[in-house]
Subunit: 480 residues, 2 copies
């Protein structure tokens, strides 16, 4: 890794931050982002920089960065583009290590902006600073309660997913999908125009970050395809990279041009490059978010044979179809395994895979069934699907008669939560990955750390995750 | 429509219900379903039938249906299979109009069960009764607070979506997805083994049901393909049918066989038949739920040209790609239209479609922008994408400094909600369908009636809905 990239440590774990463009005007980014930073709980020093004010949001303000008494690790810029250069010079003199340039109005606006952008990068590199952006929405690092970014009051919990995105908007959606599923973020960066640091630089950095287990990335364009493949491959040898590509079609590419001014590469070329680099390519926002999240704290399937355990016949049909359609194999269980299962399940159970748990939600049956399938040597992954009606807000007893069943309901939820961890223990012990999809509420058990294995809420995303993880295993096998 | 099907009115709007197999044993279906019925608020008479009890859940119980003093419109069966025949005879004598046989253990268990099933149907038809099931999870009709079905405390609101499903499990998921999006149900039926009434019978019935605007259906097998196509086509001429097929692959078909014992048809054959019949075929549970829901209270696109209005560049890229990939066309806006838009948007707006609302969430801009695109004659549908970070439970002010931004947030939500209906008014006035995707909370505005147009939470399902609705328009045009 380029040693200059180590300066990103000062961006994600700064002892102090200068905020160039701090303001109390509530509609300005200089307020919104500063406020996100302050309300996020960041414990280091924050120095608002604004020549027109004595204090901002209760903090002493400074006319210039060089007026700040203490050291400054990170400088955040929200001033207009024409003022950035001057402040950046000042940061260089001050010995700032990392600059986060939120400001737009550079390359994406044409040649004048491009020239300004180049000059800015030249100066930053000369001073040994790294530069994030410009034209981005910021970064976050929940471990340090660090949220110098745009999305209002969006403070995701810490976790194992690291994000690099060429769109702030898509970044928020990707993180959002993982977070509502109970997972968390190690570090996230909106890379903007990538004037200095590029997507692959962040991959390299997150590749060596012990807090990041999986890298999730939205990419519109690449400045150097060969460099991207080559350096991504060094990362994928250690941890997975899951990518969503924007600009896969001519109309997408044309939209990307007016968005980040990115030199878009065609979808097919990009996918080929990714395959070479062991990068997992996804095609929708949901698929990207959940596939990446599926890697967290879960062993890899060593092949494509899937055992399916369901709480309903229709679920087994849908899962079998979808697995087959995306190239997985619904495992043929041997007579020996089926015989073992037959002893655990009621008389009217029809032997086969999917295994329909006709007996209901009884973990004294479910656990040995799953264990038997895992230890059979006949599957590479197990899907456990227990999905039904969701919990409705208006649920409850409306009628004039009858008992209150909400107690049964609560008991069922608790029962499920209590046994969930046993199933995961089984997975880690036997090293056969388990993918659970359920509408029973699991977030209570998981909110705490953002590091437990993802629980899915529907069938198809779980199947896609198995497929992607099996492919990654295959890549590692063939490239080690 | 077969006049006997009119008896389904007695199933969905019964004046009184006999519950054969009522019990207070809390783990039995005879309790769970009865309790759902009672707690659902049903206002008609409910007569528990159980020869061993004086009362059940506070209601007077009767030894046999023929002992019930008043008239009985609907009989629900949860007694074991071998007892159904006798009770059914009794219902016939009593003049019951509709039988809902929840009980399993018929055709799906082999030839003995099949013979029993045939005899049961013969007797029901002889008596002019319709028979729903057997081996099903029940029905619902929220308008009448009628929930004689399995899913515990699942009382969806009334709405315009009618459901027919060969799996109870999938039925709950399909309804669940619509309901959490704020939509509601007209009538739903889990059709089970379809011994008497088949999927297409319910299509015919719902086709004439004024409360049902769209039919949503999960199908594993068909007993008579020609009849299915022919009669479905009569329905699709009036209202859309959106189908999810289980058993599209050999492994799915094999799973379906042990599930409902259905004579599964191959996926390709089925899709061809559906195309002929104007039925919309979908491939995932989410796609099926949301595509169907998209039809509610929304005009059809008269073609495939899409205008995209976004609150972020990346969203426009993703939407352009996905539209193109599924056969939609990102509309080319004329210089005249772009000129009009240029006057409404800031200087730094880059003219084109997608239209990136660089100005932020300002409806005094958004509304004329959307109106200009709708009236241009250059688009057949408009996507309005305003998606960002979701609302997190842990959101709020954590830090030691800074203002509380949650007020801004609430104001933004209210602002959005207030203007949503204006946009829908525009849609209905101009008859150009509008598809909104947003993470801003809209359920408060919609909980009430379950009949307002669906608001999406992600890009891709919205694009799929445009495509499906445009195809349905095309079908209607070519078959009128």
């Amino acid at each position: 890794m380029d040693p200059r990239l180590r300066n990103l440590d000062f961006a994600f774990n700064p002892r102090s931050i200068a905020f160039v463009g701090a303001t109390e005007s509530m509609r300005k980014w200089g307020f919104l982002i500063l406020n996100n930073l302050l309300t996020g709980g960041y414990a280091g020093e924050v120095y608002p920089v604004n020549p027109g004010r004595e204090t901002i949001l209760g903090l002493k303000a400074y006319p210039r960065v060089s007026d700040i008494p203490g050291e400054v690790d990170l400088a955040v810029f929200t001033v207009p583009a024409r003022q950035v250069m001057d402040a950046l010079q000042d940061c260089a003199r001050k010995g700032v290590k990392a600059c986060l340039v939120i400001t737009a109005g550079f390359k994406e606006l044409g040649s004048e902006g491009e020239a300004l952008e180049k000059e800015m990068v030249r100066r930053a590199r000369e001073a040994g600073m790294v530069l994030i952006g410009p034209n981005c929405q910021g970064i976050c690092c929940p471990t340090n309660d660090l949220f110098p970014w745009m999305p209002i009051l969006f403070h995701p919990p810490r976790g194992r997913l690291g994000y690099v995105s060429q769109s702030g908007n898509i970044l928020n959606m990707l993180i959002g999908n993982a977070v509502v599923s109970g997972l968390g973020v190690s570090k996230a960066v909106s890379s903007g125009n990538e004037a200095d640091l590029r997507t692959v630089d962040y991959y390299s950095y997150l590749g060596e970050d012990p807090e990041t287990e999986v890298i999730v990335s939205y990419v519109e364009g690449l400045q150097d395809g060969r460099d991207f493949v080559c350096r991504s491959r060094e990362v994928t040898a250690r941890k997975p990279i899951v990518v969503l590509k924007g600009g896969r079609t001519s109309s997408g590419i044309s939209a990307a041009k007016s968005h980040t001014g990115a030199m878009a590469v065609s979808g097919d070329l990009f996918e080929a490059a990714c395959r070479q680099a062991g990068i997992i390519v996804t095609h929708t926002i949901e698929e990207c978010s959940l596939t990446a999240a599926a890697f967290v704290n879960r062993p890899l399937p060593r092949g494509k044979r899937v055992g399916i355990v369901t709480g309903g016949g229709g679920l087994g049909v849908i899962a079998s179809d979808f697995c087959t359609e995306i190239g997985l194999e619904v495992a043929s269980l041997s007579p020996r395994t089926l015989e073992k299962l037959e002893k655990m399940l009621p008389d009217w159970w029809v032997p086969g895979n999917p295994v329909d748990l006709v007996a209901g939600l009884d973990f004294s049956v479910i656990k040995p069934v799953i264990e038997t399938i895992m230890t059979s040597g006949e599957v590479d992954a197990v899907l456990f699907l227990w999905i039904g009606a969701p919990r409705l807000k208006n649920a409850g007893v409306k009628g004039r008669r009858g008992m209150d069943l909400s107690a049964i309901w609560k008991t069922m939820d608790q029962y499920f939560l209590e046994h969930l961890s046993e199933l995961y223990d089984l997975m880690h012990q036997l090293q056969v990955p388990l993918y659970i999809a359920t509408t029973l509420p699991v977030d209570e058990a998981s909110e705490a750390d953002g590091c437990r294995p993802l629980v899915f809420t529907s069938v198809e995303p779980a199947c896609r995750a198995v497929s992607a993880m099996a492919e990654y295993y295959h890549f590692l096998e063939n490239n080690s």
